[in-house]
């Protein structure tokens, strides 16, 4: 028996929507997928006409689909945005060097300016060198902190107003659960914030990071890329994530298998939460005395980590913190 799309009732269904379990045809899926991202952008007043936007592009599925969809919506709905591609080269042989080729391909396809910044240039350390120094245990901490800072520097160089990243609904749910398990109550309510970094307390504003895929399932991103025949780079980072995060990822996949709405439901849960009471001290924001970028301490995390690397004593520092 032929099964028809439950949205248009005309075309043959070609997939089940992971979010609802409804049968849907290719066209209705593309339409709904793009409409939902447009809705996310509009309902959150993410952009103003004429703004310069850097798309954080890694060459992976999320950022490849992000480049495609944002370019498309920008034309279709006249957002009036000037788009740039911004890539970070962490210096991981056999992983990032290959994925950057994909980004270069995107640059040609969508005719966008591309800026690539490398850890080696910025910090004089590539991730390969970092791992050689500190081992495989905490490397993700370094990489994460360095990437934040690298993106900020790249965005400043490009002179953009905002950075958009490809974080999807699954990533949001994962961050939420990670922060809860870590007991990080300051970050917890902001785990799923769609725009971060523009709070501007103490008169310091940093570049806003926006996440247009907040309500977009990872599964649907993969499907969209597949059926649109977008070329992306799909290899896991050679330095795999720590055991803790691995457990949480597996949990989210299992949850989704049992109750597909669970990913969005976790986001909905997080939206109900607020920052802790006034009497619990929030870390104060200030400018790092070394690099002059935003920090919650006198010296920012990136500079602290960098200094410890340079003194060859990174291992000890991490052990003391634990």
């Amino acid at each position: 028996m032929v099964k028809y799309c439950q949205s248009c009732n005309v075309q043959k269904a070609f997939m089940v929507r992971p979010k609802t379990g409804n049968l849907i045809c290719q066209n209705c899926f593309f339409q709904a997928f793009e409409d939902e991202i447009h809705h996310t952008i509009i309902s959150n007043q993410m952009f103003k006409p004429g703004e310069k936007i850097a798309i954080a592009a890694s060459g992976g599925k999320d950022s490849t689909v992000l480049v495609h969809v944002i370019t498309l919506l920008n034309k279709k709905y006249n957002y009036g945005l000037n788009l740039y591609l911004l890539s970070i080269d962490e210096g991981i042989k056999g992983y990032r060097d290959d994925s950057l080729e994909t980004v270069k391909q995107n640059q040609i396809t969508y005719q966008l300016d591309l800026r690539i910044l490398s850890y080696k240039e910025l910090f004089n350390w590539s991730m390969d060198e970092v791992v050689a120094q500190i081992g495989l245990n905490n490397n993700c901490t370094y990489c994460g902190v360095f990437r934040r800072q690298a993106l900020d520097r790249g965005a400043i160089q490009l002179g953009v107003d905002k950075i958009i990243t490809g974080h999807n609904a699954d990533d949001m749910a994962e961050t939420f659960l990670m922060n809860l398990l870590r007991g990080d109550i300051f970050r917890l309510p902001k785990s799923t914030a769609i725009i971060t970094g523009d709070d501007g307390d103490n008169g310091i504003a940093t570049l806003p990071r926006c996440k247009p895929f907040k309500y977009t399932y990872e599964k649907e991103i993969v499907m969209y890329a597949h059926y649109k025949k977008l070329i992306y780079f799909s290899t896991e980072c050679t330095y795999s994530p720590n055991a803790f995060r691995g457990h949480v990822r597996e949990l989210i996949k299992n949850l989704e298998a049992i109750r597909p709405s669970a990913v969005i439901d976790l986001i909905h849960s997080c939206e109900q939460l607020d920052a802790p009471n006034q009497n619990q001290k929030m870390p104060q924001k200030q400018l790092c005395q070394k690099c002059n970028l935003l920090s919650s301490n006198k010296i920012c995390k990136a500079c602290t980590l960098l200094e410890s690397l340079n003194q060859g004593r990174a291992k000890q520092i991490l052990q003391i913190q634990d």
Partner: protein
């Protein structure tokens, strides 16, 4: 073979240790002393049970946690604690909700259990047994509703839980109990919390995990206090306590497992609660601070102020705010049509909270659920009362 230095109990420093509590090896006697002390302190200091002759309704399911709870309560009331025998002058009443009616339908080889001997004779506490189907005018509607709910995703188990809660609250109110005691230990509370969050119940971050949480029962505006006095203990503590204190046989049939009997090839038999229990148990073994980190953050977090405090007639929790329509719906036509239809054609769609909505979403005969067709009069009464 390498000769190990003989370890001694960290507390009494005389006996050989049998179990580890919070990294310290202790002996059997000191362990029991610790659990009993912890229970009394939780009741007095954390649950605020300080008045003389205060009445406590203890919910008992026949499972391990609530068995331990009943046993501890009995020792406290009858001053039969092994060590600190000081008596607490409280009245404890045990309530058991008998699920046999559902069990028999889902489990062929089911044999009903009678807990009267354990509660009345062994623990010497007054015991009340209520059949779960008794609040339905037509009990078979309950079975039909369960069959109509999706088998995967814990919807059926959630439904049974909310019917049980209605019975408990109703019984407590009608019989003058302000304090309702549940037996979940800390590890179970942490797992429950994760499970609730995965179902969208962010508002319950505090209420689900507090030692004591009070709310106003909508029907007659009376205050009810939900207590979790075993919050400081872990699964392991409960198991070892029972090992030393009771000869109870635990039921072989766990309703949740059987409600989703035909779900194959899904993690944890398609049951979210069990999946999260497994998740927390696994982390707890690798990272022993897991449970208490989660519970202490849950206590510190606040929730966003709500414009209105309306309750959901099904779960009686506060109806949560939706900040973006994509949390609730998708923008493809089929989903839009369904939601518009339910909004326009059912009586209670807008009163039901986000999470209960998710529970019903995949049901057969959706309109019946959203019209509360055949539901217990108690629930319909609440729904009509709630704005």
């Amino acid at each position: 073979m390498q000769q190990k230095e003989p370890k001694l109990c960290k507390k009494c420093k005389t006996n050989n240790p049998n179990i580890i509590i919070q990294k310290d090896p202790v002996c059997k006697e000191c362990f029991i002393g610790y659990v009993e002390h912890m229970f009394k302190m939780s009741l007095r200091l954390k649950c605020n049970i300080t008045q003389k002759n205060e009445k406590l309704l203890v919910c008992f399911s026949g499972g391990q946690n609530s068995t331990a709870l009943v046993k501890m309560a009995s020792d406290v009331v009858h001053s039969t604690c092994a060590y600190n025998k000081s008596k607490m002058f409280i009245e404890v009443h045990v309530l058991y909700i008998n699920e046999s009616f559902i069990m028999k339908q889902f489990i062929q080889e089911y044999q009903p259990q009678d807990y009267t001997n354990f509660v009345t004779n062994e623990c010497k506490l007054p015991f009340k047994n209520i059949d779960i189907q008794s609040i339905y005018p037509d009990p078979y509607i309950l079975l039909k509703q369960l069959h109509n709910l999706s088998e995967s995703g814990s919807s059926r188990e959630d439904f049974v839980r909310l019917i049980k809660n209605h019975i408990i609250y109703d019984y407590a109110i009608k019989n003058g109990y302000q304090n309702v005691c549940f037996g979940q230990n800390g590890q179970r509370l942490a797992a429950d919390l994760f499970s609730q969050l995965s179902k969208g119940r962010g508002l319950s971050l505090q209420s689900a995990t507090k030692y004591n949480f009070s709310f106003i029962y909508p029907l007659n505006q009376q205050k009810l206090q939900i207590l979790h006095p075993l919050k400081e203990l872990l699964n392991k503590d409960i198991l070892y306590y029972l090992r030393l204190k009771s000869n109870m046989n635990f039921p072989q049939f766990i309703l949740g497992q059987h409600l989703s009997n035909n779900v194959k090839n899904k993690p944890a038999h398609g049951n979210i609660d069990h999946l999260l229990e497994q998740f927390i148990d696994k982390l707890q073994e690798g990272f022993p601070s897991t449970t208490f980190t989660v519970l202490s953050s849950a206590e510190k977090i606040t929730i966003k102020p709500l414009q209105q405090q309306n309750h959901c007639p099904l779960c009686l929790e506060i109806r949560d705010q939706v900040y973006n329509r994509l949390e609730v719906e998708t923008l493809d036509n089929s989903n839009q049509q369904l939601i518009n239809y339910l909004r326009a054609n059912t009586k209670y769609y807008n009163k039901i909270c986000f999470t209960c909505n998710r529970m019903l979403q995949s049901a057969q005969e959706l309109e019946k659920f959203y019209n509360l067709d055949g539901f217990p009069p108690l629930i319909i009464q609440l729904a009509d009362l709630i704005q």
